[in-house]
């Protein structure tokens, strides 16, 4: 039963407190601590810095005015949009690698594989990793909100929460795009774990793929491939992720994108997520689990 597989994976992961901390809590806590320290430093040096700036910059209504309200709704949307960054990716991958390759490392497949179908066993892991990614997103967004509250307290600025118009849709879109982007890399980690039976491969192969995609994205102009070309999206899903975010943000950048680019971007993200998953399941179905 799939429910048994999910429950089993969840119970085991919940006992691994170090893995939970690194994959879901470390980055938000670290960024919150650094951000708070920077706010205190800025506050302490604010008067000194303000003297060095032209008065119109820091006057009320100016771009660096420190008295305007802080919008928690905007903070939520920004945090969701920034979620698929390389640092969060690295730490989420630590948790995903432990979930995907743990049974090979601890030689525990023989304990669980006889009593559930292999598809359920793999899908159970994927569902848990999806939960870990969502939990990491939640802690990331909460830490962003706490950061705004601290900032408001330090700078004695008012708080608002506006969530009207397109903002809810924008938040949902950012969540979908960034979570899919992270799941994509964890699927590559799953494939690496199943094929190599190695926890390190489950961690480092997606990282290498991410670095490779970064350089490919820089090379696209050399190939004379544009953002509207399907092959650009199929080769570099990071481009698809960035384009979908631009479309969600709207404005002149979004208007400048070619027609139909959204479909190509969604297709690319979907393929890069589903293909490694299907390949992993197919490989795992025929795998000799007596050699762990």
């Amino acid at each position: 039963m799939l429910a048994d597989a999910i429950r089993s994976e969840t119970i085991r992961f919940s006992r691994n407190r170090m893995a939970m901390f690194w994959s879901m809590l470390f980055v938000p806590v670290f960024f919150l601590a650094i951000g708070t320290a920077v706010q205190f430093f800025t506050r302490a040096r604010m008067a000194e810095m303000a003297e060095a700036l032209p008065p119109e910059m820091t006057a009320e209504g100016g771009p660096l005015a420190a008295s305007g309200p802080l919008d928690l709704g905007q903070s939520l949307v920004s945090q969701a949009g920034d979620f698929a960054n390389p640092i969060i990716l690295l730490f989420v991958l630590i948790g995903a690698a432990i979930i995907y390759a743990g049974d090979y490392r601890w030689e525990t497949w023989r304990l669980t594989s006889a009593r559930n179908s292999r598809i359920n066993l793999v899908v159970g892991k994927v569902v848990l990793v999806f939960g870990v990614v969502l939990a990491a997103l939640l802690t990331w967004m909460i830490s962003g909100m706490i950061g705004e509250l601290i900032k408001a307290a330090i700078f004695e600025r008012p708080l608002t929460f506006s969530f009207e118009g397109e903002r809810a849709g924008q938040l949902a879109g950012f969540v979908a795009v960034t979570v899919t982007r992270l799941m994509q890399f964890t699927m590559i980690g799953l494939l690496a774990a199943v094929v190599t039976r190695s926890l390190l491969a489950a961690l480092f192969v997606p990282m290498v793929v991410a670095i490779g995609q970064f350089f490919l994205m820089q090379s696209l102009p050399l190939l004379a491939w544009g953002v509207g070309d399907l092959q650009s999206h199929l080769l570099v899903p990071g481009l698809s992720h960035d384009i979908l975010k631009t479309l969600l943000q709207g404005g002149p950048d979004a208007a400048a994108l070619p027609d139909g680019v959204d479909g190509k971007a969604i297709l690319s993200l979907a393929l890069w997520t589903v293909v490694p998953l299907v390949a992993s399941v197919a490989w795992f179905q025929r795998q000799d689990l007596s050699r762990e």
Binding site: M1, A3, D4, A5, R7, S8, I11, R12, R15, N16, R17, M18, G102, W106, E107, T108, W109, R110, L111, T112, S113, A114, R115, N116, S117, R286, D288, L289, S290
Partner: protein, 308 residues
């Protein structure tokens, strides 16, 4: 008779090596069934196939009436093969709770504590597995195989790494599983004395084939002989040679007579009539070790002196 496991022509090859070579075996429900064989005989390969960890190259097998990989049938089976391993960050209690969940059972603290007690791990229940000795891992492995309350359990070398009191406790546990809990236990062990004491039936494998199968009492009675402490020995051997269906050999200072049990009174009468002094006459059964050694050709049997 119903069978918990049936194999027909089961074959597994690894490159040019035939780990199992057309194995056909039927293991009846109930009791303790031993699977014996020297290293490389195919025991572990057989278990791995039965658990669905590897696929056979040829042949077929059923477990609890279902084909290999049939999850409903497999859920009625527990197993511990090779040295068990567990996530090192979990305690023994957490391992059993986790495996209960993995097998669709609700976390039942009383059941978990009960099995920890039966395998002798109550005091170590809340210690992390990473600090366990091999013997403790074996005990936890047995509990892990049984936590789902299976009808059939496969235990591969369950006493490996245990001290003598631990071996004795495990032997008692295995018998109680069969007798008290009604679980069919399949046991693989290299400790033949242990197998002889615990098992009801055994199968002996060699080079991937079944070479002998039967009740332990039958196998050991096959080599049953009458040990005679007599004087003079030469006269005794002559009497034995004259008795149809009997023959004797000299082992140490005793004559070992091989003959059907019903012929024993006639032999003793003939010896007395021939003037032989009989100090002692008693039946000596073959132990499982000698049956195993003979069947697998692991050692040369001592040369016997036949009277005829």
């Amino acid at each position: 008779m119903t069978f918990v496991i049936e194999t027909r022509g089961l074959t597994k090859t690894y490159g040019s090596v035939r780990a199992l070579d057309g194995l056909s075996l039927s293991i009846p429900r109930g009791g303790v069934y031993g699977v014996l064989g020297p290293n490389g005989a195919g025991k572990s390969t057989l278990f791995r196939i039965l658990l669905g960890l590897i696929r056979p190259t040829d042949g077929e097998a059923t477990v609890m009436g279902g084909r290999i990989g049939d999850v409903a049938a497999s859920r009625r089976m527990g197993s511990m093969i090779e040295t068990p391993r567990f996530p090192p960050f979990m305690t023994a209690r957490q391992v059993l709770e986790w495996l209960s969940a993995a097998h669709g059972l609700r976390a039942d603290a009383a059941r978990v504590s009960g099995w920890l007690e039966r395998v002798g791990l109550t005091e170590a229940a809340d210690r992390r597995v990473r600090g366990f000795s091999v013997g403790m891992l074996q005990r936890l492995g047995v509990a892990a195989a049984l936590i789902t309350e299976p009808e059939l359990v496969i235990l591969d070398e369950p006493t490996s790494g245990m001290d003598p009191p631990g071996i004795q406790e495990m032997r008692a546990l295995i018998r109680s599983l069969a007798e008290r809990d009604g679980i069919t236990v399949i046991l693989a062990s290299h400790q033949l004395l242990e197998v002889q004491r615990v098992c009801d039936r055994v199968a002996i494998l060699n080079r991937g084939r079944l070479v002998r199968e039967g009740a332990v009492s039958e196998l050991t009675s096959d080599g049953e002989r009458l040990r005679l402490s007599v004087t003079p020995i030469s006269r005794t051997l002559e009497v034995l040679a004259a008795l149809p269906g009997a023959h004797g050999s000299l082992e140490g200072d005793a004559v070992m007579a091989t003959l059907p049990r019903p012929e024993a009174p006639a032999l003793l009468r003939a010896l007395i009539e021939a003037g032989v002094d009989i100090d002692e006459a008693r039946w000596v059964g073959a132990d499982l070790e000698s049956v195993f050694m003979t069947e697998t050709g692991s050692i040369q049997m001592p040369e016997t002196i036949h009277a005829r």
